[in-house]
């Protein structure tokens, strides 16, 4: 009890004395800070910590942001352009206005990194282990990069004359400029990864023994085009999509597609080919697809861009026959009660100089078949959770193994395989970190976020892009990249907005200072739960007290 010396007893009380009264005893629930998994991170096949690098970018710390990307993904320039960004589909911001344009910020950061000459961190000490990577596509490069970061010596054998795999032969230049691909690859090579070109591997075991490699990572992709049987009087007019896109990369043998091109298929590759055809000078590029737009596997935005560029799509049609003089007979389909396309018997005729089949690709498994223990199923190489084939020390990833075939998935395979190989070399098993609870939209308090529509990346004007392979989407400049980064909601992770600190009626939140977040003062917290209700990003949880 404090008694002021002269002032009247009990009437007058010294300030701040209520600190003697610990109101924490009233509590039946306690607030607890936690980190939830942001849906973007959860959705990223490459396992990027998107939220972390957006936060760094938001502060204008672009190099740190870029380095944060490089922890998980060695190819941000490619990812920022060619990835179909599942992160953005998962982004909670789409329920407020529109998703954060994550890929655009990533691309901006990569542009900056190349402009500024930032370099990834490489350990100076080597482990003494040597690893062979077969194939220089995204999963091979990713595995090589991560293995190098883990201290191992890495050599890539590439069968072709240039590195890049599908990044070069599968994705058209208007979506992925080649200088970006080259610079991203060069950066990996500069880390000390040896890339040997025109080196086709026929006998894995022999190569491994000969080169003294401790482990092998196979990543040759899927280059064999699927074929459908279509009666054809003029087989010369029929090409496959992989071949067309591949030949685009070789100056000498650019494909001659003609003025009227019909593409058969509904995936992204079909769209890529149709758009490529337009750029090659085709007056007509028609996609024939047997289902509806809703059912199309190609991404919406790509389809939109294709249509803007004049690509025509014949929905609910199949190619029945390719006749003389490029007459293509197509049959109209209709959806049955189950939503499946059924033939109607009604025929139409199209004129085509070339018919391109875009019906998917397969893996060339022949060189693996000789290896003991490797299992091949559904034309893909089977691997365990460690990305290891049935043959000890031989790992595989990317399009070769059962998975979604995208650049980003391949990069993710490369990363996880590298970590698994690293563990295997030490006779350990690689354990992926356990995922936190996902911070879905219901966990957020969206009131606190101001409305802010997505920055629309500048698009090349239609006329120009129909004719050239210049990049369709313009990049963000610093102002709008920053703007875009700031749209991030920081789902599930405290971003030090001070809400809990401000809204606590009992001053029971202690602010620890910039970067150090907050802690609860359980001596005084009454457990009202306002902090949890008003946390914009869902980083506080109320937990029952044991009474």
């Amino acid at each position: 009890m404090t008694l002021p010396t002269t002032a009247p007893f009990a009437i007058t009380v010294d300030v701040g004395t209520s600190l003697d009264n610990h109101t924490g005893t009233w509590r039946t629930e306690r607030p607890v800070y936690l980190d939830r998994l942001p849906p973007c991170n959860n959705a990223c096949p490459a396992g990027e910590n998107i939220q972390a690098w957006l936060a760094l970018a938001e502060e204008g710390n672009y190099e740190a942001a870029w380095q944060e990307i490089m922890v998980n993904n060695p190819l941000p320039g490619i990812m920022g352009r060619a990835c179909y960004h599942p992160c953005e589909d998962a982004c909670n911001r789409k329920d407020i206005d529109s998703a954060v344009s994550i890929h655009a910020v990533e691309r901006f950061l990569d542009d900056e990194s190349r402009k500024q000459g930032w370099l990834p961190r490489v350990p100076s000490d080597l482990s003494g282990k040597k690893i062979l990577v077969v194939g220089s596509g995204p999963s091979g490069l990713s595995a090589a990069y991560h293995l190098r970061r883990l201290g191992h010596a890495v050599t890539i054998y590439e069968a072709g004359p240039v590195a890049g795999g599908m990044m070069r032969f599968g994705i058209p230049a208007y979506r992925l400029p080649r200088d970006v691909v080259e610079e991203n690859i060069k950066r990996i090579a500069d880390m000390g990864v040896e890339i040997v070109l025109n080196r086709k591997v026929e006998d894995i075991a022999a190569e491994k023994a000969e080169g003294g490699f401790d482990a092998v990572f196979l990543a040759i992709g899927a280059h064999l085009a699927n074929r459908a049987y279509i009666p054809s009087a003029d087989a010369g007019r029929i090409l496959d999509a992989v071949g067309v896109l591949h030949d685009m990369e070789t100056e000498e043998s650019k494909p001659m597609l003609g003025r009227r091109v019909v593409v058969y298929g509904g995936g992204n590759t079909a769209v890529d080919v149709a758009r490529t055809a337009k750029r090659m000078g085709a007056q007509e590029a028609i996609i024939v697809y047997r289902r509806t737009r809703d059912q199309m596997p190609a991404h919406d935005f790509e389809m939109d861009e294709a249509i803007e560029e004049g690509v025509i799509v014949n929905w609910l049609t199949t190619i029945k026959e390719v006749g003389d003089g490029g007459k293509v007979m197509v049959e109209r389909m209709e959806l049955d009660a189950d939503g499946k396309p059924q033939p109607t018997g009604e025929m139409d005729e199209l004129e085509a100089d070339t018919v391109v089949m875009a019906l998917g690709q397969n893996v060339d498994t022949s060189f693996v078949e000789k290896l003991d223990g490797v299992e091949i199923k559904d034309k893909t190489i089977q691997v365990d959770t460690q990305f290891m084939t049935g043959h000890p020390g031989v790992f595989a990833g990317g399009d070769m193994v059962p998975s979604e075939r995208t650049v980003t998935v391949a990069v993710g395979h490369g990363k996880h395989a590298a970590r698994a190989i690293h563990a295997w070399l030490q006779s350990e098993t690689y354990q992926r970190a356990e995922k936190h609870e996902i911070a879905d939209f219901e966990k957020l308090n969206p009131w606190y976020y101001a409305n802010a529509p997505e920055t629309v990346q500048e698009q090349l004007d239609i006329a120009r892009r129909q004719a050239t392979f210049g990049e369709v989407l313009g990049g963000l400049d610093e102002t709008n990249a920053l703007y875009e980064a700031r749209r991030c909601l920081s789902c599930g992770n405290c971003f030090e907005c001070d809400n809990c600190y401000g809204v606590c009626p009992d001053n029971a939140v202690i602010k620890l200072g910039p970067g150090n977040r907050f802690k609860f003062d359980y001596d005084f917290c009454k457990g009202c739960g306002i902090c949890a209700a008003e946390c914009p990003c869902g980083a506080i949880e109320m937990v029952p007290e044991e009474i």
Binding site: P4, T6, A7, P8, F9, A10, I11, V13, D14, V15
Partner: protein, 423 residues
């Protein structure tokens, strides 16, 4: 300096000499002339930086005083009657918070029936509110008591009510000796609060106190009043040393030496009582007077000492506890418990009824003869009372007694009956 002044103006000028910093004013008869003159003095620049606030009620007046006093400003206000009751909540609050506010109460009756004339019902209604209550006998004393009141209040950190009879003193022009500023400055140092709201040394004033300490708080307030029993005479003595006259103190004795009967009274009526006593002493009657200067704290010991040789005490008071008897008398009886001195209660002068020397002669003679009843109402017109009681017995219907009486009086006046209390 001798001045011929209205009592209210004398008080206002004395207050001005005390250098108050905040004065809150709300008009109510009969104190209006005091705050009016204070306002004039402030505007004439005769009160330095004093803030003069016209407020919207007595409740606000004393509340504003509470605020200013808690901020360390010497604070003054004045009120009367209904106004004192309207601020009653704040009256208790000011003393509970220990704020040395000085307030003049120009004593006046409480309605209904509404009545603007003098008695002590208003101050007596607040006798237990924790304030010190000093009663002035003359305008000179009223003036002097205000100067002393600031000293006492600030020394005790308790509010002081200076009670002076409405109209009888407030509106009477008398010659007074107005002290000089130097004298007052010598007597009354600048206010050094015992508790003050100050950002440099903050604390909370006005905490909520529960059963665990409330009795102690109340006892400490009582203890403080008991301490004032020593402080008040001390300050009166200091006052005399500087100003050269007797003023204030706990009680004043007059002709008590050898008196068998002692009249105890308070306020301006003491003058009439003393004049009556002078005449009776001249006739050899053994009668004396004790005037109570401080009603709170009540000077029990001093009073007991003053009357210890008397056989009986006649308490003449302008207040009345309806349903019981005398308010002052009750305090005196308590003080004389065990002495065997007989105490008579005389209620007089309610609502401004004059207390005249002939009435007092009759009253005191009756007392000296041993014929005074224990409870006596001076000059009560029994014919009116009995008539009304008769009417009430006959008419079951109730009605406002006052109006009924007034109707009867008017009827009597029309018939040529003398007005009440006219002798």
């Amino acid at each position: 300096m001798l001045k011929q002044l209205e009592g209210s103006h004398a008080v206002a000028e004395a207050v001005a000499l005390c250098r108050p910093e905040v004065i809150c004013a709300y008009p109510i008869s009969p104190q209006t002339h005091i705050v009016e003159h204070c306002g004039e003095l402030v505007r004439e620049g005769k009160m330095g930086n004093c803030e003069y606030m016209n407020v919207e009620s007595e409740f606000a007046a004393l509340s504003a005083c509470i605020g200013s006093s808690a901020c360390g400003a010497r604070t003054y206000t004045a009120t009367a009657s209904q106004g004192l009751l309207f601020m009653a909540e704040a009256v208790y609050n000011a003393s509970g918070l220990g704020l040395p506010i000085v307030m003049t109460v120009a004593n006046r009756a409480i309605g209904a029936p509404i009545n603007i004339w003098n008695d002590h019902t208003d101050s007596m209604a607040m006798r237990d509110a924790g304030w010190l209550q000093l009663f002035a006998e003359t305008n000179q004393e009223a003036l002097d008591l205000h100067i002393q009141a600031f000293r006492i209040a600030e020394q005790m950190s308790q509010p002081v009510m200076v009670c002076m009879d409405g109209f009888i003193l407030t509106h009477a022009y008398e010659r007074v000796s107005m002290p000089t500023q130097e004298q007052v400055d010598q007597f009354l140092p600048p206010y050094t609060p015992q508790q003050v709201l100050d950002p440099a040394n903050p604390y909370s004033i006005g905490a909520m106190v529960g059963p665990e300490a409330f009795t102690e708080v109340r006892y400490l307030a009582h203890e403080k009043q008991l301490q004032a029993l020593d402080v008040i005479p001390g300050i009166a003595a200091e006052f005399k040393a500087i100003f050269g006259r007797d003023s204030g103190g706990l009680i004043r004795e007059y002709e008590t030496e050898g008196a068998d009967t002692i009249v105890v009274t308070l306020g301006s009526v003491a003058g009439t009582v003393k004049d009556t006593v002078d005449e009776m002493r001249a006739d050899g009657k053994k009668i004396g007077v004790v005037t109570v200067g401080s009603f709170r704290p009540f000077p029990s010991a001093a009073l007991r000492e003053a009357v210890k040789h008397a056989n009986e005490v006649v308490v003449l008071e302008k207040s009345f506890a309806i349903g019981f008897g005398g308010v002052v008398a009750n305090n005196i009886m308590m003080s004389l418990q065990g002495t065997g001195i007989h105490v008579h209660t005389v209620v007089a002068g309610l609502g401004g009824r004059p207390i005249t020397m002939p009435s007092l002669h009759r009253l005191f003679d009756t007392a000296l003869k041993g014929e005074l009843e224990d409870m006596h109402f001076l000059n009560l017109q029994w014919d009116i009372v009995n008539a009304e009681l008769q009417r009430q017995r006959e008419q079951i219907a109730s009605g406002p007694t006052a109006e009924s009486i007034l109707r009867n009086i008017q009827t009597d006046t029309a018939r040529g009956t003398p007005t009440p209390a006219a002798e």
